[in-house]
Symmetry: C2
Subunit: 376 residues, 2 copies
């Protein structure tokens, strides 16, 4: 059975106060829902997205073959997050470029496109915006909030910002904050974008330009860090594009891996917004719930009430298993209910988006447990 | 005792045939020597450099305080490679930008600056050029050839190209070829340079331009991969530049690690040549002695006669210990004499340039053994 997805949008006139001290008003959130909200509104599951994803989590749009949602392997009728049982909500975050208000939209206060003046948004801001969307949908409590990578940070932040409103948090391939190396990779990508002459300080829209060079470099760096060394060697190794003949060129493609990266960079630069890239990587950099607890994650987690499933992948060097174990320990220090699975998968950080049998089974089992608590 | 270094240069009129099929004539090699060649010319040690280094291996230039050679911790009077016993030679590779003929020089065949037309050079080509320099210096046999990273590849290649001319090879933090991930990082750096509008297809000299944006990005990527995650966390962690106050900015520096990377990028772009960056990273990509042996390193090493010391560092993820172990195994498969040390050091790939006590002790002991074979 094909799940048909329908994109929706909701506009919020009241200003949303942001962490930075700024606020944003008259903004819209794009979202989708799958399945049916039960009578007592206890079966809602919120899915949070990472850098390059959206509210289009599952299913396909009518008349648009190939428009499959980004986590369709995980979410749908009969799938681990079963839309026959749960009312699943996907929402595009503020500042993104897939439908919610972002840098390419008009600032109602100035009548001009935001561009680089779009306010800096944080994980906490996104969670607050998501909470207001749930308010409008009449949903007080989430059966679960779930996300991978940056989406996992949002799921975690939900349990800290709205401890009463979350029963379960499913945090996949994530971390309680970025390491210096993570920030470093984000910074190089941002510098590539910002120093592209077509960036124009972030006001490239009014110049009719797109900083594609920078976006390509940013995406290439991203791709390297999403994959494991092993899977890269297996997929591409040292294969030359032209069989066994070395062409001796410094500027043209010689190895298959180069061809792959260039293709990914080109594709990305055609649809992704440069200001959004800066905003989302900054939200990643800033997330650090332990910052004002003297660096103690255990202290930061003291108010958590949700139960947790954490999943990590052995070859993920961007959000390594050790980072998930830090969260598990801090939750156990607070005697919280935690399940943790470390999946031996070769695919690096990307594994959280792929259909690994054991991974799927763990999530399925956990949601079956949640379903028992929910009158469907 | 301060070792005073004196840069020398030697010009070669005869064409050097290159792997690519091209050749280069009328080229110069910059080099330095330290210590005294013994009467039977058996105490020569050749040091090969990596990406961002030169013939200035040890000592300081007279009247230039701070001009310490890049491997001065390792090489000098009484140091692990003791210039009181050995005649040490440092040579700048063809295509580099520190004195030997490179892309910024004039092509004698055209009367124009080479720029992007400088021929593609390989590790094998460099070794051939080094051999011709040794011929001129009257050195038939090397007591040892030594290098780290790309320099280690040259040391290894010496034992394959000139098995009769090398008694010992010291290969530090190196690999028998690059992995797909290594190539991928090189390619992103190259793309950043090549797509910089100031690159002008590699003929930027005649436009009075320098592709500094691209060079900065390339260097930032490089720096991340030279360091370990651990040492980055220890040195920078999540420290903000302005104490505890988050400034909420996407384009300015917020974290100390960003400041460090920008500084490194700026510095590098002031002195390094963009075409040299392309050439040297390509030489890294291409090196693969097993390519024409069906991928078998053991077969490739069949003609090796030298004895080996290999050293790797536990936190080096660019040239991981596993890559050194591959070489050790292939040498043992050929019943060659190999010593191998895996040093538990936190500094990542950079460790090969740092003064780790155990590392220094291993190299010192190995060279004491070599000294016993040499009449000094």
């Amino acid at each position: 059975m094909t799940l048909v997805a329908v994109a929706q949008s909701m506009t919020f006139e009241a200003p949303l106060a942001l962490r930075s001290g700024a606020s944003i008003r008259g903004y819209s959130l794009a979202f989708e829902t799958y399945g049916t909200l039960n009578a007592d509104k206890t079966n809602a599951v919120l899915i949070c997205h990472a850098l390059n994803a959206s509210h289009h989590v599952a299913g396909v749009y009518a008349d648009q073959p190939g428009s499959t949602g980004w986590w369709d392997t995980m979410i749908g009728p009969g799938k681990p997050v079963d839309t026959n049982r749960f009312f699943v909500i996907g929402v595009n975050n503020l500042g993104s470029c897939f439908g919610s208000t972002g840098p390419m939209h008009v600032n109602p206060d100035t009548g001009k496109v935001y561009g680089a003046d779009f306010p800096v948004v944080t994980v906490e801001d996104w969670v607050n915006a998501q909470a207001k969307l749930l308010d409008q949908l009449g949903i007080q409590t989430l059966a679960a909030v779930m996300g991978g990578s940056l989406g996992g940070m949002q799921a975690l932040s939900w349990t800290l910002q709205y401890p009463q409103r979350v029963k379960h948090a499913v945090v996949v391939a994530s971390a309680p904050n970025l390491t210096a190396e993570n920030i470093a990779f984000n910074e190089v990508a941002r510098r590539a974008i910002v120093t592209d002459p077509d960036f124009h300080g972030g006001h490239f829209y009014e110049h009719g330009a797109i900083p594609k060079r920078g976006l390509r470099i940013a995406r290439m760096i991203g791709h390297i860090t999403y994959l494991s060394d092993d899977v890269m060697n297996e997929k591409f190794g040292r294969q030359l594009r032209d069989g066994l003949d070395i062409r001796y060129t410094t500027q043209d493609v010689e190895f298959q891996i180069e061809s792959y990266l260039r293709y990914q960079g080109d594709k990305f630069s055609d649809y992704f917004d440069a200001n959004t890239y800066l905003l989302i990587t900054r939200a990643l950099d800033y997330f650090d719930p332990a910052l004002h607890q003297g660096g103690s994650l255990a202290k930061a987690f003291a108010q958590v009430q949700a139960k947790f499933l954490l999943v990590s992948f052995t070859t993920d060097w961007r959000f390594a298993p050790a980072r998930s174990r830090e969260m598990v320990k801090a939750l156990l220090d607070n005697r919280r209910d935690v399940s943790y699975a470390e999946i031996d998968a070769p695919h690096g950080h990307d594994a959280f988006l792929l259909e690994d049998e054991r991974y799927m089974a763990v999530v399925r089992a956990y949601f079956e447990r949640i379903a028992l608590e929910v009158a469907v």
